[in-house]
């Protein structure tokens, strides 16, 4: 965390693709601070740069200009190896297309980041078991993604994003591929995360998802056009999600 208490901070963030007449300004001079425990929703039309912003914040892409700070550490100058380590410890990703490893079971998918982070197989399994129970999929732990519904896959993806108790979860259209019932399941989980004090950045088209946030940023043509604080839906607890789920200790 930096002195301002921001988990995520971006200054003058720019991302261009192409050159000359085909230049695309995906993200254009964006400044952003996300304090610890805040749920930030980013909305905007397709192609406005929301997903690119998320990739830049998570270190999946490098900015053309500007700075990105995660937990007080500047990451846009880091090498690939250091970025990978940062993602392991500090960031969890949730994607619209789930991006589960198809040949791994639900539990094995959730265990994977824990194994990459150096946890023992036993500890990775314990964490995966707790998180799958938390997202209501304890009974589906051995199922392959192909045998799960879209909503169930997204819940596995959320569990996977949380397994290393990250400082921030970055979710890219997490309900974009889901029906209403599945969307509600995911929203419930995000509510729980918000209440537990988990820092969340959610890129979404879905106003129901945005309504669960503490703050809503609107984007257009790569720029922020609106930044609104929303009334907190529910009181939140103290401490991280790891504490809530009993992962600490």
């Amino acid at each position: 965390m930096n002195r301002s208490g921001a988990v995520l901070r971006a200054r003058g963030l720019v991302k261009h693709y192409g050159r000359g007449q085909s230049l695309v300004r995906a993200v254009d001079e964006v400044d952003l601070e996300v304090p610890e425990g805040q749920t930030l929703a980013v909305m905007g039309p397709s192609g406005c740069g929301k997903s690119t912003l998320l990739h830049l914040l998570g270190g999946l892409e490098r900015p053309t200009a500007g700075e990105v700070w995660v937990a007080g550490r500047r990451i846009d100058t880091l090498g690939e190896r250091a970025l990978a380590r940062m993602r392991r410890r500090s960031v969890g990703f949730v994607f619209q297309a789930f991006h589960l490893v198809e040949e791994l079971s639900a539990a094995e998918n959730v265990e994977l980041p824990a194994l990459l982070a150096g946890h023992s197989p036993r500890e990775a399994r314990r964490r995966a078991g707790l998180l799958l129970e938390r997202v209501g999929l304890a009974g589906r732990a051995r199922h392959l993604p192909s045998r799960l519904s879209g909503g169930q896959r997204q819940r596995v993806a959320i569990a996977r994003a949380l397994v290393n108790d990250p400082l921030v979860v970055l979710a890219d259209e997490p309900t974009g591929n889901l029906d209403t019932a599945a969307t509600l399941d995911v929203l419930r989980i995000f509510e729980d995360l918000r209440a537990a004090g988990q820092t969340l950045v959610i890129v979404t088209h879905d106003e129901r998802v945005a309504a669960t946030a503490d703050r809503l940023v609107s984007m257009r043509d790569g720029m922020f056009v609106d930044d609104t604080r929303l009334a907190a839906a529910q009181p939140r607890g103290l401490g991280g999600l790891g504490g809530l789920l009993g992962l600490e200790g």
Binding site: S51, T52, H55, G58, L60, E61, E80, R81, A84, R85, R87, R88, R89, F93, F95, Q96, A97, H99, L100, V101, E102, E103, L104, S105, E108, E111, L112, P113, L115, L116, A117, P121, A124, R142, L144, S146, R160, N164
Partner: protein, 599 residues
């Protein structure tokens, strides 16, 4: 006609889009078919070269040799010319056994045939350089002269007498060098020996000067050359020739004996051709498997616009078949060019050497098999998939392997990734293991060949004159091994890149979860090394067994440290070769990969 044009246009367009793959298929098929065509043609070519030499030198149908000499022996041999089935003859003539030494002090046993200065009706050696014998000069058999490094104008010492080499010639009356002596002194066994000619008087003088062993021979032409092999059985037991203990050499025997020098060459080339064919199938099948989703989508597109199964199969197979047949044509051309050197390791024969019809057919079948075997699966899958699912086809989903996943969880990240990547495509892992084993088999067999001590063709087995058969075998083994290694290298790059491309989404996901590019690259390398390990370990004993299956007599095993070194070096080279494609794949943008997968 329209369909044919459409198929060709689509196949050409696809080949243009995948030039590297088309080039690899072309290369693999060319190498495999050239090797196989040469291997299968060797015996036929040897026969053809003998036949051409026989025609050019008025080769005898039968040579009758006696271990003794003298008027009675000559009379006994000459009496054969009275037979009704003998239509022409040359001789009897003297054969003197001596030692020949060149100016470079290379020495070899030699038999000197005493011939007339004028051409004979039968056994008329063809002079390829210089001129025919004259008093005081000698003519050397071409294979012998080449081995000695002697040319017209040089001087050689035979039994202590110096002679100028006035000519170089070939004959079909004797086997190729080093089997110039059909029988040894006094009718005993012969050693590796070269052949020289002198005038009759010079040969007589040479024999008398040192009391050298002399045998006598006569060359016969029969009314029915095909009966040469059974001629000896028609000579009565009480015939004078039987009394002087004679040996009959038919032209069929001589032609067959020519092939002794190729005894190992043919299996080396044929087995080499099959092994190269296997590596070609492995590489091309991997390429085809890597394109299966794309091919399925293509089939769906064709179905959607009304193409039938036949047209779809033709479109999908034509590109590979076309490249394979082009490779076949190139391979056969190379075989034709390389044939003289491979089929005639000595210079004792003249004539053109071309692949036999059987070899051309077999090589073409191999080329078609490579194309069909490697693309049939993906083609059938594409044809069987319904139109709509085909249009949205993605790569084949791997099976879940819970035990292996649990085991890999205990390993460091690169091995965890490598083991899981290997398990995604077990068939490819088997191909990779076999590919490595094939290479190690060839290298081990080559080492085993080099470990043997060979009797040279010089005096008392001196290696001053190298053993041409062993040398030829080693050269062929080196050529085959180099080709196998080249194809294996192409395969390793193909396997690694295809694995990386198929697993790019998974690897991108793993990167979002915190794996470093180095770990992903190491995982991709490990995925190739894991199956290579058993392949390398198995390849060593298999290679030695293969060598033993061809070897006769005492065998010296190569050093254990050499064989262990081969296995280790193969693994190190495999690891090194995977680094570049693995690193390139690992450095792909995660965001771009995930976006492409979602699109």
């Amino acid at each position: 006609m329209g369909s044919v044009v459409l198929v060709l246009r689509l196949a050409l367009a696809d080949a243009r889009r995948h030039r590297t793959q088309a080039a690899m298929l072309l290369l693999a098929v060319t190498v495999a078919t050239a090797t196989m065509a040469i291997g299968l043609s060797l015996h036929g070519v040897s026969d053809a070269l003998y036949a051409q030499t026989r025609a050019a030198t008025a080769g005898p149908d039968v040579v009758v040799l006696s271990g003794e000499s003298g008027p009675e022996v000559s009379a006994a041999l000459a009496s054969l010319t009275d037979r009704a089935d003998v239509v022409a003859h040359h001789g009897p003539y003297r054969i003197v056994y001596a030692d020949l030494t060149t100016r470079d002090s290379v020495s070899s046993p030699v038999v000197v045939h005493g011939f007339a200065e004028t051409p004979n009706a039968v056994n008329r050696p063809l002079v390829t350089a210089g001129r025919w014998v004259r008093p005081g000069g000698t003519v050397l058999e071409r294979g012998f002269a080449v081995a000695l490094g002697v040319d017209v104008g040089d001087r050689v010492t035979i039994a202590g007498r110096s002679y100028p080499v006035v000519g170089i010639a070939v004959t079909a009356a004797t086997s190729i060098y080093p089997w110039g002596a059909q029988i040894g002194p006094y009718g005993g066994p012969s050693d590796y020996t070269g052949l020289a000619w002198m005038t009759r008087s010079d040969a007589r003088a040479l024999a008398a000067s040192r009391r050298l062993p002399v045998t006598t021979a006569i060359d016969l032409r029969l009314r029915d050359p095909a009966a040469a092999e059974t001629f000896r059985h028609t000579v009565a037991d009480d015939h004078p020739v039987r009394v002087v203990r004679s040996t009959f050499r038919s032209w069929q025997f001589t032609a067959h004996h020519d092939k002794v020098i190729l005894r190992n060459a043919q299996p080396i080339m044929v087995i080499g051709g099959w092994l190269l064919g296997f590596l070609a199938v492995s590489g091309v099948a991997t390429l085809a498997a890597g394109r299966v989703a794309e091919q399925t989508r293509r089939a769906g597109l064709l179905k959607a616009v009304g193409a039938g199964p036949g047209l779809i199969a033709a479109v999908l197979l034509t590109e590979y078949l076309g490249a394979a047949l082009a490779g076949d044509a190139l391979g056969l051309t190379i075989a034709r060019l390389a044939m003289p050197a491979v089929a005639a390791p000595t210079a004792s024969r003249i004539g053109d050497a071309e692949p036999t019809v059987t070899a051309v057919i077999a090589a073409t079948v191999l080329a078609v098999a490579v194309a069909v075997l490697s693309t049939l699966g993906p083609t059938l899958r594409a044809m069987r998939t319904a139109t709509v699912p085909a249009l949205a086809a993605s790569a084949h989903q791997p099976r879940r392997r819970p035990r292996l996943n649990a085991l890999s969880a205990l390993l460091p990240t690169p091995l965890l990734l490598g083991l899981r990547l290997t398990a995604r495509r077990p068939g490819r892992a088997v191909l990779q293991a076999c590919s490595t084993a094939t290479t190690v088999v060839a290298i081990t067999a080559l080492l085993a060949v080099h470990a043997q001590r060979e009797r040279g063709y010089g005096l008392d087995g001196s290696t001053a004159l190298p053993n041409l058969r062993g040398l030829h075998d080693r050269r062929l083994m080196i050529a085959i091994t180099v080709l196998l290694i080249a194809l294996a290298i192409v395969n390793i790059l193909t396997f690694t890149w295809t694995t990386a491309m198929e697993a790019r989404a998974t690897m991108a996901i793993v990167r979002t979860l915190g794996a470093t590019p180095g770990q992903v690259a190491a995982g991709l390398s490990a995925a190739q090394l894991l199956p290579s390990l058993p392949g390398a370990v198995l390849g060593v004993p298999l290679g030695f067994l293969m060598y033993l299956s061809f070897r006769v007599g005492n065998t010296i095993p190569p050093r254990l440290s050499w064989m262990a070194g081969v296995a280790l070096a193969t693994l190190v080279v495999t690891a090194a070769l995977t680094v570049l494609p693995a690193r390139l794949a690992a450095r792909r943008s995660v965001a771009a990969t995930l976006s492409a997968e979602t699109a």
